[in-house]
Protein backbone atom coordinates (compact mmCIF):
# COMPACT_ATOMS: atom_id res chain seq x y z
CA UNK A 1 0.00 0.00 0.00
CA UNK A 2 1.29 3.43 -0.93
CA UNK A 3 1.07 5.44 2.31
CA UNK A 4 0.54 8.65 0.33
CA UNK A 5 -2.43 7.17 -1.51
CA UNK A 6 -4.71 8.08 1.37
CA UNK A 7 -4.33 11.74 0.42
CA UNK A 8 -5.84 10.94 -2.98
CA UNK A 9 -9.25 10.62 -1.38
CA UNK A 10 -11.14 13.77 -0.44
CA UNK A 11 -12.91 11.97 2.41
CA UNK A 12 -9.53 10.96 3.85
CA UNK A 13 -8.15 14.50 3.62
CA UNK A 14 -11.25 15.75 5.43
CA UNK A 15 -10.91 13.00 8.01
CA UNK A 16 -7.24 13.79 8.67
CA UNK A 17 -8.00 17.50 9.10
CA UNK A 18 -11.03 16.83 11.28
CA UNK A 19 -8.99 14.35 13.35
CA UNK A 20 -6.23 16.88 13.92
CA UNK A 21 -8.65 19.63 14.95
CA UNK A 22 -10.71 17.28 17.13
CA UNK A 23 -7.50 16.01 18.73
CA UNK A 24 -6.48 19.56 19.64
CA UNK A 25 -9.78 20.88 21.02
CA UNK A 26 -10.76 17.66 22.82
CA UNK A 27 -7.39 17.35 24.52
CA UNK A 28 -7.41 21.02 25.61
CA UNK A 29 -10.89 20.55 27.11
CA UNK A 30 -9.56 17.35 28.67
CA UNK A 31 -6.83 19.21 30.56
CA UNK A 32 -9.53 21.15 32.41
CA UNK A 33 -11.57 18.00 33.05
CA UNK A 34 -8.54 16.16 34.46
CA UNK A 35 -7.28 19.06 36.59
CA UNK A 36 -10.70 19.97 37.97
CA UNK A 37 -11.59 16.31 38.56
CA UNK A 38 -14.58 16.45 36.26
CA UNK A 39 -13.59 13.53 34.08
CA UNK A 40 -17.20 12.44 33.64
CA UNK A 41 -18.13 15.80 32.12
CA UNK A 42 -17.18 14.69 28.59
CA UNK A 43 -19.64 11.81 28.58
CA UNK A 44 -22.31 13.99 30.20
CA UNK A 45 -22.01 16.78 27.63
CA UNK A 46 -21.77 14.21 24.83
CA UNK A 47 -25.14 12.80 25.88
CA UNK A 48 -26.55 16.32 26.15
CA UNK A 49 -25.32 17.09 22.62
CA UNK A 50 -26.75 13.77 21.43
CA UNK A 51 -30.12 14.52 23.06
CA UNK A 52 -30.07 18.02 21.54
CA UNK A 53 -29.35 16.63 18.07
CA UNK A 54 -32.18 14.13 18.41
CA UNK A 55 -34.56 16.78 19.71
CA UNK A 56 -33.76 18.95 16.67
CA UNK A 57 -34.46 15.94 14.42
CA UNK A 58 -37.80 15.34 16.12
CA UNK A 59 -38.70 19.02 15.64
CA UNK A 60 -37.35 19.10 12.07
CA UNK A 61 -34.42 21.41 12.83
CA UNK A 62 -30.64 21.30 12.31
CA UNK A 63 -29.18 18.56 14.58
CA UNK A 64 -25.95 20.52 15.05
CA UNK A 65 -27.79 23.56 16.40
CA UNK A 66 -29.85 21.33 18.67
CA UNK A 67 -26.66 19.68 19.95
CA UNK A 68 -25.03 23.04 20.58
CA UNK A 69 -28.11 24.31 22.40
CA UNK A 70 -28.41 21.40 24.82
CA UNK A 71 -24.69 20.87 25.43
CA UNK A 72 -24.22 24.57 26.19
CA UNK A 73 -27.38 24.51 28.31
CA UNK A 74 -26.08 21.52 30.28
CA UNK A 75 -22.67 23.12 30.72
CA UNK A 76 -24.38 26.27 31.97
CA UNK A 77 -26.46 24.23 34.44
CA UNK A 78 -23.70 22.01 35.87
CA UNK A 79 -21.62 24.88 37.28
CA UNK A 80 -24.36 26.71 39.20
CA UNK A 81 -25.85 23.39 40.35
CA UNK A 82 -22.54 22.36 41.85
CA UNK A 83 -21.90 25.80 43.34
CA UNK A 84 -25.31 26.56 44.78
CA UNK A 85 -26.53 23.07 45.61
CA UNK A 86 -25.41 20.84 48.39
CA UNK A 87 -23.56 18.40 46.19
CA UNK A 88 -20.22 18.06 44.49
CA UNK A 89 -19.58 18.93 40.82
CA UNK A 90 -19.42 15.18 40.07
CA UNK A 91 -22.94 14.72 41.47
CA UNK A 92 -24.20 17.67 39.40
CA UNK A 93 -22.62 16.09 36.32
CA UNK A 94 -24.30 12.77 37.18
CA UNK A 95 -27.75 14.39 37.53
CA UNK A 96 -27.44 16.24 34.22
CA UNK A 97 -26.07 13.10 32.55
CA UNK A 98 -29.00 10.91 33.62
CA UNK A 99 -31.50 13.61 32.58
CA UNK A 100 -29.89 13.93 29.15
CA UNK A 101 -29.74 10.17 28.71
CA UNK A 102 -33.46 9.97 29.47
CA UNK A 103 -34.17 12.83 27.04
CA UNK A 104 -32.12 11.12 24.32
CA UNK A 105 -33.96 7.82 24.71
CA UNK A 106 -37.28 9.66 24.71
CA UNK A 107 -36.37 11.46 21.49
CA UNK A 108 -35.30 8.18 19.84
CA UNK A 109 -38.72 6.78 20.74
CA UNK A 110 -40.44 9.84 19.25
CA UNK A 111 -38.37 9.84 16.05
CA UNK A 112 -40.35 8.74 13.02
CA UNK A 113 -38.84 6.43 10.35
CA UNK A 114 -35.26 5.14 10.27
CA UNK A 115 -33.03 5.85 13.23
CA UNK A 116 -29.74 5.40 11.36
CA UNK A 117 -29.03 9.15 11.20
CA UNK A 118 -29.82 9.49 14.90
CA UNK A 119 -27.45 6.70 15.86
CA UNK A 120 -24.84 8.24 13.55
CA UNK A 121 -24.76 11.19 15.94
CA UNK A 122 -23.91 8.85 18.75
CA UNK A 123 -21.23 6.82 17.00
CA UNK A 124 -20.04 9.51 14.59
CA UNK A 125 -18.15 8.78 11.38
CA UNK A 126 -14.99 10.69 10.73
CA UNK A 127 -14.80 9.28 7.19
CA UNK A 128 -18.03 10.97 6.14
CA UNK A 129 -17.35 14.32 7.79
CA UNK A 130 -18.54 17.34 5.77
CA UNK A 131 -16.65 20.51 4.91
CA UNK A 132 -18.87 22.44 7.34
CA UNK A 133 -17.93 20.03 10.14
CA UNK A 134 -14.22 20.47 9.39
CA UNK A 135 -14.62 24.25 9.46
CA UNK A 136 -16.49 24.05 12.75
CA UNK A 137 -13.80 21.87 14.30
CA UNK A 138 -11.05 24.12 12.95
CA UNK A 139 -12.73 27.26 14.30
CA UNK A 140 -13.23 25.60 17.71
CA UNK A 141 -9.59 24.50 17.89
CA UNK A 142 -8.24 27.90 16.85
CA UNK A 143 -10.56 29.73 19.27
CA UNK A 144 -9.42 27.43 22.09
CA UNK A 145 -5.74 28.05 21.30
CA UNK A 146 -6.30 31.82 21.11
CA UNK A 147 -8.25 31.89 24.39
CA UNK A 148 -5.54 29.83 26.04
CA UNK A 149 -2.87 32.27 24.86
CA UNK A 150 -4.78 35.35 25.98
CA UNK A 151 -6.14 34.09 29.31
CA UNK A 152 -3.46 31.58 30.30
CA UNK A 153 -2.80 33.05 33.73
CA UNK A 154 -6.48 33.08 34.67
CA UNK A 155 -7.00 29.58 33.26
CA UNK A 156 -3.96 28.30 35.17
CA UNK A 157 -5.18 29.83 38.43
CA UNK A 158 -8.71 28.45 38.14
CA UNK A 159 -7.87 25.04 36.67
CA UNK A 160 -5.22 24.32 39.30
CA UNK A 161 -6.91 25.76 42.39
CA UNK A 162 -10.22 27.49 41.90
CA UNK A 163 -10.73 28.44 45.56
CA UNK A 164 -7.33 30.09 45.76
CA UNK A 165 -8.02 32.00 42.54
CA UNK A 166 -11.31 33.25 44.00
CA UNK A 167 -9.62 34.24 47.27
CA UNK A 168 -7.07 36.20 45.21
CA UNK A 169 -9.88 38.24 43.66
CA UNK A 170 -10.15 36.56 40.24
CA UNK A 171 -13.62 35.97 38.75
CA UNK A 172 -13.05 32.24 39.29
CA UNK A 173 -16.70 31.25 38.95
CA UNK A 174 -17.14 33.02 35.61
CA UNK A 175 -13.92 31.47 34.30
CA UNK A 176 -15.04 28.01 35.48
CA UNK A 177 -18.40 28.40 33.70
CA UNK A 178 -16.63 29.60 30.54
CA UNK A 179 -14.43 26.48 30.64
CA UNK A 180 -17.55 24.29 30.96
CA UNK A 181 -19.17 26.06 28.00
CA UNK A 182 -16.02 25.62 25.91
CA UNK A 183 -16.20 21.90 26.69
CA UNK A 184 -19.83 21.92 25.52
CA UNK A 185 -18.88 23.58 22.21
CA UNK A 186 -16.01 21.13 21.73
CA UNK A 187 -18.23 18.11 22.26
CA UNK A 188 -20.81 19.48 19.82
CA UNK A 189 -18.19 20.20 17.19
CA UNK A 190 -16.87 16.63 17.54
CA UNK A 191 -20.29 14.97 17.40
CA UNK A 192 -20.53 14.34 13.62
CA UNK A 193 -16.94 13.11 13.30
CA UNK A 194 -15.85 11.42 16.52
CA UNK A 195 -19.35 10.73 17.81
CA UNK A 196 -21.00 11.35 21.14
CA UNK A 197 -19.71 8.16 22.69
CA UNK A 198 -16.08 8.23 21.58
CA UNK A 199 -15.46 11.95 22.16
CA UNK A 200 -15.20 11.17 25.87
CA UNK A 201 -12.07 9.07 25.33
CA UNK A 202 -10.48 11.72 23.14
CA UNK A 203 -11.13 14.29 25.87
CA UNK A 204 -9.74 12.28 28.75
CA UNK A 205 -6.97 10.02 27.41
CA UNK A 206 -4.56 12.57 25.85
CA UNK A 207 -4.94 14.97 28.82
CA UNK A 208 -4.53 12.17 31.37
CA UNK A 209 -1.44 10.98 29.47
CA UNK A 210 0.07 14.48 29.51
CA UNK A 211 -0.73 14.77 33.24
CA UNK A 212 1.60 11.84 33.88
CA UNK A 213 4.59 13.58 32.33
CA UNK A 214 4.91 17.17 33.51
CA UNK A 215 4.54 19.62 36.38
CA UNK A 216 4.21 22.55 33.94
CA UNK A 217 0.72 23.48 32.79
CA UNK A 218 2.04 24.96 29.53
CA UNK A 219 3.77 21.68 28.73
CA UNK A 220 0.68 19.75 29.79
CA UNK A 221 -1.49 21.64 27.29
CA UNK A 222 1.13 21.18 24.58
CA UNK A 223 1.63 17.46 25.26
CA UNK A 224 -2.13 16.85 25.48
CA UNK A 225 -2.64 18.53 22.09
CA UNK A 226 0.22 16.52 20.56
CA UNK A 227 -1.18 13.28 22.00
CA UNK A 228 -4.67 14.19 20.78
CA UNK A 229 -3.45 14.84 17.24
CA UNK A 230 -1.19 11.75 17.23
CA UNK A 231 -4.07 9.57 18.49
CA UNK A 232 -6.42 10.89 15.80
CA UNK A 233 -3.98 10.67 12.90
CA UNK A 234 -2.37 7.38 13.90
CA UNK A 235 -5.85 5.93 14.58
CA UNK A 236 -6.98 7.00 11.12
CA UNK A 237 -3.87 5.49 9.51
CA UNK A 238 -4.43 2.18 11.31
CA UNK A 239 -8.05 2.30 10.26
CA UNK A 240 -7.08 2.92 6.62
CA UNK A 241 -4.31 0.32 6.60
CA UNK A 242 -6.15 -2.49 8.38
CA UNK A 243 -9.74 -1.64 7.43
CA UNK A 244 -10.79 -1.01 11.04
CA UNK A 245 -13.64 1.22 12.31
CA UNK A 246 -12.05 4.70 12.42
CA UNK A 247 -13.57 5.95 15.70
CA UNK A 248 -12.62 2.83 17.63
CA UNK A 249 -9.13 2.89 16.14
CA UNK A 250 -8.62 6.53 17.26
CA UNK A 251 -9.84 5.86 20.79
CA UNK A 252 -7.78 2.71 21.25
CA UNK A 253 -4.67 4.54 20.00
CA UNK A 254 -5.29 7.27 22.61
CA UNK A 255 -5.63 4.56 25.28
CA UNK A 256 -2.28 3.04 24.24
CA UNK A 257 -0.67 6.51 24.43
CA UNK A 258 -2.03 6.88 27.98
CA UNK A 259 -0.74 3.44 29.06
CA UNK A 260 2.75 4.22 27.72
CA UNK A 261 2.84 7.64 29.46
CA UNK A 262 1.55 6.19 32.74
CA UNK A 263 4.18 3.41 32.61
CA UNK A 264 7.02 5.89 32.12
CA UNK A 265 5.64 8.69 34.29
CA UNK A 266 8.33 10.49 36.32
CA UNK A 267 5.56 11.37 38.82
CA UNK A 268 5.29 7.75 39.92
CA UNK A 269 8.40 8.13 42.07
CA UNK A 270 7.12 11.38 43.60
CA UNK A 271 3.75 9.81 44.40
CA UNK A 272 5.50 7.27 46.62
CA UNK A 273 7.62 9.90 48.38
CA UNK A 274 5.02 12.73 48.70
CA UNK A 275 3.29 13.28 52.00
Amino acid sequence: MDPLSLFDHAFMRHALLAGAFAGVCCSLAGVFAVLMRLSFIGVCLAHAAFAGGLLAMVLGGDPLLGSLFLSLGSAAVIGPMADRGNFSPDTAVGIVFSTMLGAAILCIGLLPGSRAEALGLFWGNILTVSTRDVWLLGATALTAIAALGIFFKEIQAVACHRDIAAAAGLPATAIFYAILCFTGVTVTACLPSVGGLLVYSLIINPAAAAYQLTYSLRRMFLLAAVFGVVSSEAGLLFSYAFDLPAGASIVLTSSVVFVICAAFSPKRANRHTAG
Binding site: I150, H161, A165, A167, Y215, G275
Partner: protein, 254 residues
Protein backbone atom coordinates in the same frame (compact mmCIF):
# COMPACT_ATOMS: atom_id res chain seq x y z
CA UNK B 1 2.24 54.61 62.52
CA UNK B 2 1.05 57.30 64.93
CA UNK B 3 -1.27 56.60 67.84
CA UNK B 4 -4.15 58.39 66.08
CA UNK B 5 -3.63 56.32 62.93
CA UNK B 6 -3.53 53.18 64.97
CA UNK B 7 -6.90 53.90 66.57
CA UNK B 8 -8.52 54.71 63.22
CA UNK B 9 -10.77 51.91 61.99
CA UNK B 10 -9.39 49.70 59.22
CA UNK B 11 -12.65 47.79 58.84
CA UNK B 12 -16.04 48.43 60.42
CA UNK B 13 -18.98 46.03 60.31
CA UNK B 14 -22.39 47.54 61.08
CA UNK B 15 -25.54 45.47 61.59
CA UNK B 16 -24.16 42.69 59.41
CA UNK B 17 -26.32 39.61 59.05
CA UNK B 18 -25.41 36.62 56.89
CA UNK B 19 -28.13 34.11 56.10
CA UNK B 20 -27.49 30.61 54.75
CA UNK B 21 -30.37 28.32 53.83
CA UNK B 22 -32.78 30.46 55.81
CA UNK B 23 -30.61 30.45 58.95
CA UNK B 24 -28.63 33.44 60.22
CA UNK B 25 -25.04 32.18 60.47
CA UNK B 26 -23.50 35.53 61.41
CA UNK B 27 -24.99 38.50 63.24
CA UNK B 28 -22.65 41.39 64.07
CA UNK B 29 -24.16 44.60 65.43
CA UNK B 30 -20.89 46.51 65.40
CA UNK B 31 -17.28 45.44 65.04
CA UNK B 32 -14.38 47.83 64.55
CA UNK B 33 -10.98 46.45 63.57
CA UNK B 34 -8.39 49.12 64.30
CA UNK B 35 -5.70 50.02 61.79
CA UNK B 36 -2.51 48.04 62.39
CA UNK B 37 -3.94 45.83 65.11
CA UNK B 38 -3.71 42.06 65.30
CA UNK B 39 -7.16 40.68 66.06
CA UNK B 40 -7.58 37.03 66.98
CA UNK B 41 -10.94 35.36 66.39
CA UNK B 42 -11.84 32.25 68.35
CA UNK B 43 -14.95 30.17 68.86
CA UNK B 44 -16.26 26.65 68.37
CA UNK B 45 -16.67 25.08 64.93
CA UNK B 46 -19.68 26.58 63.15
CA UNK B 47 -19.61 29.76 65.23
CA UNK B 48 -19.17 31.97 62.15
CA UNK B 49 -15.42 32.62 62.21
CA UNK B 50 -14.69 31.76 58.57
CA UNK B 51 -17.96 33.45 57.54
CA UNK B 52 -16.76 36.63 59.24
CA UNK B 53 -13.51 36.51 57.26
CA UNK B 54 -15.39 35.80 54.00
CA UNK B 55 -17.59 38.85 54.61
CA UNK B 56 -14.63 41.13 55.36
CA UNK B 57 -12.80 39.73 52.31
CA UNK B 58 -15.80 40.56 50.13
CA UNK B 59 -16.31 36.92 49.14
CA UNK B 60 -19.69 36.72 50.84
CA UNK B 61 -22.40 39.33 50.57
CA UNK B 62 -24.35 39.82 53.80
CA UNK B 63 -28.14 39.84 53.68
CA UNK B 64 -28.16 43.14 55.57
CA UNK B 65 -25.65 45.60 57.00
CA UNK B 66 -22.58 47.49 55.90
CA UNK B 67 -18.86 46.79 55.77
CA UNK B 68 -16.90 50.03 55.80
CA UNK B 69 -13.24 50.33 54.85
CA UNK B 70 -12.70 46.90 53.32
CA UNK B 71 -12.37 46.90 49.55
CA UNK B 72 -11.84 50.67 49.36
CA UNK B 73 -8.64 52.62 48.70
CA UNK B 74 -6.51 52.05 51.78
CA UNK B 75 -8.70 49.09 52.69
CA UNK B 76 -7.44 46.42 50.34
CA UNK B 77 -8.11 43.01 51.89
CA UNK B 78 -6.33 39.70 51.21
CA UNK B 79 -7.38 36.32 52.54
CA UNK B 80 -5.05 33.37 53.16
CA UNK B 81 -7.76 30.72 53.12
CA UNK B 82 -7.81 27.49 55.09
CA UNK B 83 -5.52 24.86 53.63
CA UNK B 84 -7.04 22.07 51.60
CA UNK B 85 -5.38 18.91 50.32
CA UNK B 86 -3.64 19.48 46.99
CA UNK B 87 -3.15 16.89 44.26
CA UNK B 88 0.59 16.02 44.34
CA UNK B 89 0.63 15.92 40.52
CA UNK B 90 -0.79 19.44 40.10
CA UNK B 91 1.11 21.21 37.29
CA UNK B 92 1.82 24.50 39.05
CA UNK B 93 4.93 25.55 40.96
CA UNK B 94 4.99 27.40 44.29
CA UNK B 95 6.15 30.57 42.51
CA UNK B 96 3.35 30.36 39.92
CA UNK B 97 0.81 29.68 42.66
CA UNK B 98 1.99 32.71 44.65
CA UNK B 99 1.88 34.89 41.52
CA UNK B 100 -1.88 34.20 41.32
CA UNK B 101 -2.12 36.83 44.08
CA UNK B 102 -1.16 39.53 41.56
CA UNK B 103 -3.45 38.48 38.71
CA UNK B 104 -6.61 40.32 39.76
CA UNK B 105 -4.74 43.63 39.97
CA UNK B 106 -2.89 42.91 36.73
CA UNK B 107 -6.13 42.64 34.73
CA UNK B 108 -7.33 40.24 32.07
CA UNK B 109 -5.07 40.93 29.12
CA UNK B 110 -1.72 41.57 30.82
CA UNK B 111 0.84 38.88 31.45
CA UNK B 112 2.78 38.76 34.71
CA UNK B 113 6.16 40.29 33.95
CA UNK B 114 9.54 40.29 35.70
CA UNK B 115 8.33 42.78 38.32
CA UNK B 116 5.55 40.47 39.54
CA UNK B 117 7.92 37.52 39.46
CA UNK B 118 10.58 39.41 41.44
CA UNK B 119 8.05 40.60 44.04
CA UNK B 120 6.71 37.05 44.41
CA UNK B 121 10.27 35.75 44.96
CA UNK B 122 10.88 38.51 47.51
CA UNK B 123 7.77 37.49 49.44
CA UNK B 124 8.71 33.82 49.26
CA UNK B 125 12.00 34.87 50.80
CA UNK B 126 10.11 36.77 53.52
CA UNK B 127 8.10 33.66 54.45
CA UNK B 128 11.22 31.49 54.27
CA UNK B 129 10.60 29.28 51.24
CA UNK B 130 12.43 31.11 48.44
CA UNK B 131 14.51 27.97 47.86
CA UNK B 132 11.31 26.04 47.02
CA UNK B 133 10.04 28.51 44.38
CA UNK B 134 10.16 26.01 41.51
CA UNK B 135 8.83 23.01 43.43
CA UNK B 136 5.35 21.78 42.37
CA UNK B 137 2.94 23.05 45.02
CA UNK B 138 1.34 19.62 45.39
CA UNK B 139 4.65 18.25 46.66
CA UNK B 140 4.91 20.79 49.51
CA UNK B 141 4.39 20.01 53.16
CA UNK B 142 1.43 21.62 54.93
CA UNK B 143 3.67 24.27 56.49
CA UNK B 144 5.25 25.15 53.15
CA UNK B 145 1.82 25.40 51.48
CA UNK B 146 0.65 27.69 54.29
CA UNK B 147 3.69 29.93 53.84
CA UNK B 148 2.93 30.04 50.11
CA UNK B 149 -0.66 31.05 50.93
CA UNK B 150 0.60 33.91 53.10
CA UNK B 151 3.03 35.04 50.39
CA UNK B 152 0.17 34.93 47.87
CA UNK B 153 -2.00 37.07 50.10
CA UNK B 154 0.85 39.55 50.64
CA UNK B 155 1.36 39.84 46.87
CA UNK B 156 -2.08 41.43 46.75
CA UNK B 157 -0.51 44.36 48.65
CA UNK B 158 -3.21 44.27 51.31
CA UNK B 159 -3.94 46.79 54.02
CA UNK B 160 -5.81 44.09 55.90
CA UNK B 161 -4.52 40.51 56.03
CA UNK B 162 -7.00 37.78 56.89
CA UNK B 163 -5.70 34.40 58.03
CA UNK B 164 -8.10 31.47 58.30
CA UNK B 165 -6.71 28.83 60.67
CA UNK B 166 -3.12 29.08 59.40
CA UNK B 167 -1.92 26.32 61.73
CA UNK B 168 -4.64 23.74 61.05
CA UNK B 169 -3.35 20.25 60.20
CA UNK B 170 0.26 21.20 60.94
CA UNK B 171 2.65 19.39 63.28
CA UNK B 172 3.95 21.19 66.39
CA UNK B 173 7.13 22.43 64.78
CA UNK B 174 5.37 23.70 61.64
CA UNK B 175 2.75 25.44 63.82
CA UNK B 176 5.43 27.23 65.78
CA UNK B 177 7.29 28.25 62.61
CA UNK B 178 4.14 29.56 60.90
CA UNK B 179 3.13 31.58 63.97
CA UNK B 180 6.64 33.06 64.18
CA UNK B 181 6.44 33.90 60.47
CA UNK B 182 3.05 35.61 60.94
CA UNK B 183 4.35 37.60 63.92
CA UNK B 184 7.40 38.68 61.95
CA UNK B 185 5.28 39.81 58.99
CA UNK B 186 2.92 41.74 61.23
CA UNK B 187 5.73 43.57 62.98
CA UNK B 188 7.66 44.25 59.75
CA UNK B 189 4.76 45.41 57.59
CA UNK B 190 2.42 46.75 60.30
CA UNK B 191 -0.55 45.21 58.51
CA UNK B 192 -3.96 45.09 60.12
CA UNK B 193 -4.29 41.36 60.68
CA UNK B 194 -7.33 39.26 61.55
CA UNK B 195 -6.57 35.62 62.35
CA UNK B 196 -9.09 32.87 62.98
CA UNK B 197 -7.47 30.16 65.07
CA UNK B 198 -7.99 27.27 67.44
CA UNK B 199 -4.41 27.68 68.70
CA UNK B 200 -5.39 29.45 71.96
CA UNK B 201 -1.89 29.53 73.39
CA UNK B 202 -0.67 31.61 70.46
CA UNK B 203 -3.10 34.43 71.20
CA UNK B 204 -1.22 36.33 73.96
CA UNK B 205 2.00 36.47 71.95
CA UNK B 206 0.40 37.53 68.67
CA UNK B 207 -2.83 39.38 69.28
CA UNK B 208 -3.67 42.85 70.51
CA UNK B 209 -7.29 41.86 70.97
CA UNK B 210 -9.38 38.71 70.76
CA UNK B 211 -12.94 38.39 69.49
CA UNK B 212 -14.98 35.46 70.79
CA UNK B 213 -17.77 34.19 68.52
CA UNK B 214 -20.51 31.82 69.56
CA UNK B 215 -23.46 30.69 67.42
CA UNK B 216 -22.73 33.39 64.85
CA UNK B 217 -22.55 36.29 67.31
CA UNK B 218 -19.67 38.15 68.93
CA UNK B 219 -19.96 37.48 72.65
CA UNK B 220 -16.75 39.06 73.89
CA UNK B 221 -13.98 41.37 72.67
CA UNK B 222 -10.94 42.32 74.70
CA UNK B 223 -7.28 41.72 75.38
CA UNK B 224 -5.79 38.30 74.67
CA UNK B 225 -4.81 37.82 78.30
CA UNK B 226 -8.35 38.50 79.50
CA UNK B 227 -9.77 36.19 76.83
CA UNK B 228 -7.98 33.17 78.25
CA UNK B 229 -9.80 32.61 81.52
CA UNK B 230 -11.16 29.16 82.40
CA UNK B 231 -14.68 30.51 82.79
CA UNK B 232 -14.75 32.37 79.46
CA UNK B 233 -13.27 29.45 77.55
CA UNK B 234 -15.68 27.01 79.21
CA UNK B 235 -18.62 29.24 78.25
CA UNK B 236 -17.32 29.55 74.70
CA UNK B 237 -16.48 25.92 73.96
CA UNK B 238 -18.77 24.15 76.44
CA UNK B 239 -16.02 22.07 78.08
CA UNK B 240 -13.89 22.69 81.20
CA UNK B 241 -10.47 24.34 80.78
CA UNK B 242 -7.47 24.85 83.02
CA UNK B 243 -5.35 27.97 82.52
CA UNK B 244 -1.88 28.07 84.09
CA UNK B 245 0.45 31.00 84.44
CA UNK B 246 3.82 30.22 82.85
CA UNK B 247 6.54 32.91 82.66
CA UNK B 248 3.87 35.56 83.05
CA UNK B 249 1.80 34.17 80.18
CA UNK B 250 -1.47 32.22 80.35
CA UNK B 251 -1.19 28.65 79.10
CA UNK B 252 -4.41 26.80 78.27
CA UNK B 253 -4.78 23.11 79.13
CA UNK B 254 -7.81 21.01 78.32
Amino acid sequence: MSGADRDAPAVTLLDVRVVRQGRAVLRVRELVVKRGEFLGVIGPNGSGKSTLLAVVAGRLRPATGKILGAGTAGGRVALAAQMTALDPRLPISILESVMVGAYAELGALRRPGPKVRARARQLLDMVGIAHLADRPIGLCSGGEAQRAAIARALLQRPDVLLLDEPTSALDWRAQREILACIKDIHSRLGLTTVMVTHELNALPELCDRVLVLRAGEPVWLGSAREALTPQRLAETFGIPFTVLDHRDRPVVLF
